[in-house]
Symmetry: C2
Subunit: 291 residues, 2 copies
């Protein structure tokens, strides 16, 4: 069994970006600039945005964090999005989700300039991704693809079972894995809450992508010997022994599943770090298209 080490792979991507950014700077060209919008004080969101901003600094990107109170009016938020759309210095705009209930998320996402939508949530980017055209791919699925690429995991002709059909992970993951690309070219089965014979299907899988958000849902009896297992789950479980008060649990019961796998992602340190690396890559790409 080998570990798909997201920390290492993400670091390799960041190291490369750092060099590329330094080169841009040396050539007197524009440096990538990510603008992040954070509304309210959700604990997880604070952590994620802080990590993204920190990663920008690491690789030499410019970053701007724009904070709003939870009760900001939708109009004000949309005005800010418009302002960032029109700002030629900003390459990527990130609106940290979830937004407070009184703001319709799709309104905000649809207001983003698709060319700055580095989270890949705008319908234009989703559509282009589906059509196999150049597009910003959402950070988590993009990060998983980069991880498979980094470790040269063979995917062609493999049967991948994706558990979960969310717009953010399961759906794009299933599309990317089944496309005529490398990584890709998998036969892909999408499973979800209405799937009857999930265990049976998982047992057929050469690769399982668990993205349903149920801690330790995938157990050893569901996994074929030699399978590749990608664990997208990051549920916070209360843990008074931890300074943070919680620990992270994946959707896979790691201890029992790992011994059966050819490759597996740990939680934390698997998919998580890759999502930020993917976001940085998207932002760099956006900037490069202007340079």
């Amino acid at each position: 069994m080998e570990i798909l080490d997201g920390k290492k792979a993400a670091q390799a991507i960041k190291d490369k970006l750092k060099i590329d950014v330094a080169q841009l700077a040396a050539e007197g060209k524009k440096i990538p600039h990510l603008a992040a919008i954070l509304v309210g004080n959700n604990g997880a969101s604070e952590t994620y945005v802080a990590a993204k901003v920190k990663s920008c600094e690491e690789v030499g990107f410019k970053s701007t964090l724009i904070r709003f109170e939870a009760d900001i009016s939708p109009v004000k938020l949309l005005e800010k999005v418009q302002e960032l759309n029109n700002d030629p210095d900003v390459d990527g705009i990130l609106v940290q989700l979830p937004l407070p209930k009184h703001i319709k998320e799709s309104d905000v996402i649809n207001a983003l300039d698709p060319d700055k939508d580095v989270d890949g949530f705008h319908p234009v980017n989703v559509g282009k991704m589906v059509q196999g055209l150049p597009a910003f791919v959402p950070a988590t699925p993009h990060g998983i693809m980069l991880l498979l690429e980094h470790y040269k995991v063979e995917t062609k002709g493999k049967h991948a079972v994706v558990v979960g059909r969310s717009n953010i992970v399961g759906r794009p993951m299933s599309i990317l894995l089944s496309q005529n690309s490398n990584p890709g070219n998998c036969t892909v089965t999408v499973c979800h809450s209405r799937t009857h014979n999930l265990k049976e299907l998982c047992l057929q899988a050469d690769m399982i992508v668990a993205a349903l958000g149920k801690p330790e849902f995938v157990t050893a009896d569901m996994v074929k010997e030699g399978a590749v297992v990608i664990d997208v789950g990051i549920t916070r479980i209360e843990d008074t022994n931890k300074k943070s008060g919680f620990r992270l649990k994946g959707d896979v019961q790691y201890e029992t599943v790992a011994p059966k796998c050819s490759w597996i992602t740990p939680v934390p340190g698997g998919v998580g770090p890759m999502t930020i690396a993917a976001l940085l890559r998207n932002t760099f790409t956006s900037c490069a298209q202007k340079n």
Copy 2:
């Protein structure tokens, strides 16, 4: 075994549209107007466009057929698209594919106003469809969904195997069938040219959607007793006994497969007529959004 009769279902949809259009007219409201662009003289394209225009007449839509020679410049074609985009009387614009090689199809499709893209090929419509938002869904997959709906075929929790991953049929079909909707909520497996164990996978399927364009590819030994089989293939096979010089063959070996099925679409008379019905529905929807 029961037939999913596309002619009957399409007629039912057209009958309903005819009543709805008559009602619009009676209320002095705008009547749906489809503009079709045909470039060159491809035989199949001529037939398809003629059928679409005829169907518009049948239900009382206004239609405009715009013809260009095969050597039209891309700029001229894009100018016409722009003109139709700006014409408030036009509700739907259809660019018959394929286009001559010197014109980049994606340039033309991306130039369409997504709100008039009744073929559902613009990335915005593809993206919205994936996200489960209201969107124009491409005619063939939309037609299949309408057919399943018409015959009240139960799909929830069923395992659907989609053979083919094209942007026009296989890919959108796999997405629609796996969405949390009715019809929908299938566990969906997408198979393609790189799939190893296609027969084995098909044998597991409660529903097979054959959309690979290989005549009689799906044979009885690949189909489970009681399966629903949707045949999207329409390959023209030379036949000197026919006035047209050809007959149409599906991707399914109908004679041997049909006896095993709970439901099956014939070719012709299955999916084909539904694509036009779906196009008309999309055009009506576009018009209704303005009325």
